[in-house]
């Protein structure tokens, strides 16, 4: 039923836009000729593990739209190795146990070539071991440090989105240099939040700053004022990152708590993903700073790649759906789906992927990748893939709220987010 839903949504006029954009891009592709050598017309089946329900639903909705858009574009460009791509979507309920079951279904019931998709770190951590046992390549779009930390396995890769450790390390110099050195952190109390807690604390100390207090909030919490008195009085910067259905309440109550005398605010846009910055009660955010994986508002120097990507997915210049300006996207994360599927395409073509027997070759082909230049396949910016840690590194953006819009004020270099390898997955058996 879910697949049918997805397919139906994919055939709206967004589809037509994607096809147009795809057609234009396809004309410039030099690899057309090889598609005629495809040995099978069977589609490449990609199991798409998606948060349709549960606390990740807003992300799931937009991961789905992005995935539908990029698959239409890839198919319009001739598919992968001359074969069309078919997405088989399954809801994981933002639940680790269900996540593992979904991975199992992809491998054993749907006959998928690979699994792909999910965001929330606990779902990834719950699902990856099963993918490893099934030897099913599992491409995650999750941000967590669990891939590069060596916690997972050779079959789990994160080639389309940077990890939290890299993100916060790149943010720390800007925070310490421009906002203040005494930081209090508020983060969700699960793996993703713990990555923030551990790596930002180290990173800000390396900049001569210190974290005064760590405030962990359960991701299912619905009322937040009770946590805020724990913020020490001498806090110069409040670092906040929150997820789940109650993020709007979180930010609103933050504003109500501080009133006119707030410390500098530095947030990860996760606290406001899928939420309109112009919502009533959020006026206090004016002038505050956010990390953005990809700038939600079209910037004055918008690239042609971002423009094409926005059009294909159906996002307007304010980061909302073109058909409903109240439906705000998860723009800072969902580009990861787009870029990951282009990496899958490049990997399968380099490996000459034909059937599930070639899954090992696909892993090796992706591990061999390094530089990924900015382009239609990588609209967020250039990236550098590390085959040993299965993690990609890229640029990060810092935006400031000005007149109710997020305006980019700083772009980090890829090196700002680099750190020594913690694992070499290529030494693990295939």
């Amino acid at each position: 039923m879910t697949t049918k839903d997805g397919a139906k949504r994919g055939t709206t006029r967004r589809g037509a836009l994607a096809t147009l954009a795809g057609g234009a891009a396809a004309a410039s592709l030099p690899l057309w000729a090889r598609y005629t050598h495809a040995q099978s017309a069977e589609p490449i089946r990609i199991g798409f593990q998606v948060h349709r329900t549960g606390i990740g639903a807003a992300y799931g909705r937009w991961y789905d739209r992005t995935t539908q858009a990029v698959v239409e574009k890839i198919n319009a460009e001739g598919g992968i190795n001359g074969r069309p791509v078919e997405i088989i979507a399954e809801d994981d309920g933002t639940d680790p146990k269900r996540g593992a079951e979904v991975v199992e279904k992809f491998a054993n019931q749907h006959g998928c070539d690979i699994a792909f998709g999910t965001l929330f770190s606990h779902v990834v951590i719950g699902s990856a071991p099963r993918a490893g046992e099934l030897k099913l390549p599992y491409f995650v779009v999750s941000e967590g440090h669990h891939v590069a930390s060596g916690m997972l396995n050779r079959y789990t890769l994160q080639p389309g989105i940077t990890d939290v450790k890299s993100q916060v390390q790149a943010m720390a110099p800007y925070v310490a240099g421009n906002l203040g050195k005494k930081v209090t952190m508020i983060f969700p109390d699960f793996a993703f939040g713990h990555d923030h807690r551990d790596y930002f604390t180290d990173a800000i100390e390396a900049q001569g700053g210190q974290v005064l207090a760590h405030i962990a909030i359960p991701p299912t919490e619905t009322s937040f004022t009770k946590y805020f008195p724990k913020i020490p009085r001498d806090t110069e910067v409040l670092y906040h990152v929150m997820v789940g259905p109650a993020v709007l309440t979180f930010v609103k109550e933050l504003g109500e708590f501080f009133g006119p005398s707030a410390p500098a605010l530095f947030g990860f846009i996760d606290s406001l993903e899928a939420v309109d910055i112009a919502s009533p009660g959020l006026e206090f955010l004016e002038g505050s700073y956010f990390w953005e994986g990809n700038p939600r508002y079209a910037q004055s120097d918008q690239t042609i790649y971002d423009k094409a990507y926005r059009e294909a997915v159906g996002v307007d210049g304010n980061g909302a759906s073109v058909s409903d300006p109240k439906d705000v996207s998860t723009y800072a994360h969902m580009f990861g789906c787009w870029e990951t599927l282009y990496v899958v395409k490049a990997g399968m073509e380099a490996a000459g992927y034909q059937a599930p027997a070639d899954r090992g070759k696909l892993i090796e082909a992706v591990e061999a990748m390094t530089e990924m230049p900015e382009g239609y396949a990588h609209p967020q910016g250039a990236k550098l893939f590390n085959g040993k840690t299965h993690q990609v590194f890229g640029h990060q953006y810092i935006s400031q709220v000005k007149d109710g819009r997020l305006v980019r004020v700083h772009t980090t270099s890829i090196d700002d987010g680099a750190y020594p390898d913690e694992v070499d997955y290529t030494k693990h058996p295939l």
């Binding site: 549960g54 639903a57 909705r61 919490e221 004022t225 009770k226 724990k230 109650a246 309440t249 009533p280």
Partner: protein, 308 residues
Amino acid sequence: MEFGPHLMLAVLEGAVTAAVLSLTAVGLSLVFGVMRVVNVAHGEFFMLGAVLAWWIAGAFGGHAALGFLAALVVAPLAVGAMAVLADIVILKRIGYDPERTIVATIGLLYILQQVTLMSYGPEARPVAAPFNTRLALPWVEWGEAGPALYWPWGLSITSYKLAVIGAAVAVLVGVWAVMTRTRIGLVMRATQLDRDMALAFGIPVERVYALVFGFGAALAALAAVLIVPISQAHYLMGGDPLLLSFIVVIIGGLGSLPGTVVAALLIGLSDGVISVFFSPTLAKILATLLVALVLVFRPQGLFGARAA
């Protein structure tokens, strides 16, 4: 934050929780007291109230207060009507048998939750508060020049949160007046005391049951409409109120209205204070522990007249 202002903030936050909780729990307690039905779907009636409030508030243009007021009236009525229907269609058919009603209301819980997921969707959606001004609160400091007022950082409440507390008190007084001062309340109490005798005196017990079930659900929905401008409508939001309501009703005594209100205050305030000073998890642990102690040492609850 200093201890005094911190405690005051904790008490204020706890009072908002207690206000909403007492409305929800009174609904649950009423249904159990009169009908002897453990309504596991009570939390979903709460959720429906919030979701309908979003829907109704969205249908009204103009000032936010207009849509909210409409929601305040229409959502509890609609949810109450739905509950009356559920009573007639389901509970009456299984003869209000205690075991079967539990299973039936569990089924109802899933039906309501999943239908909401299929129609309303998995998103959390906000409803604008009719008014919402931040009120900074002063605190007294004993300086060298005697007591002086100052405004500590973060010590504040919003006018809307105060209004929620006020509205809950007003509704509870209304419920008490209905139960003790009106004919319908008399009929309900008669049914509660002795169903067979009430029937013998010509009280249409089945109609009273349907009415009580609807009234209980409407109270939950009203609580949800009050809280939704603070915490948004979401299809899974019914879980916590259900659990807390059960805790409150067990501590207060099943079927006892004053007991329910006192227990709601106790749980709401302790939840506020403990989660501010220690951790929200500890607050839940202590509440559950309290339930266990009450069940062991005073199974009828603090205010319960007889063993349930």
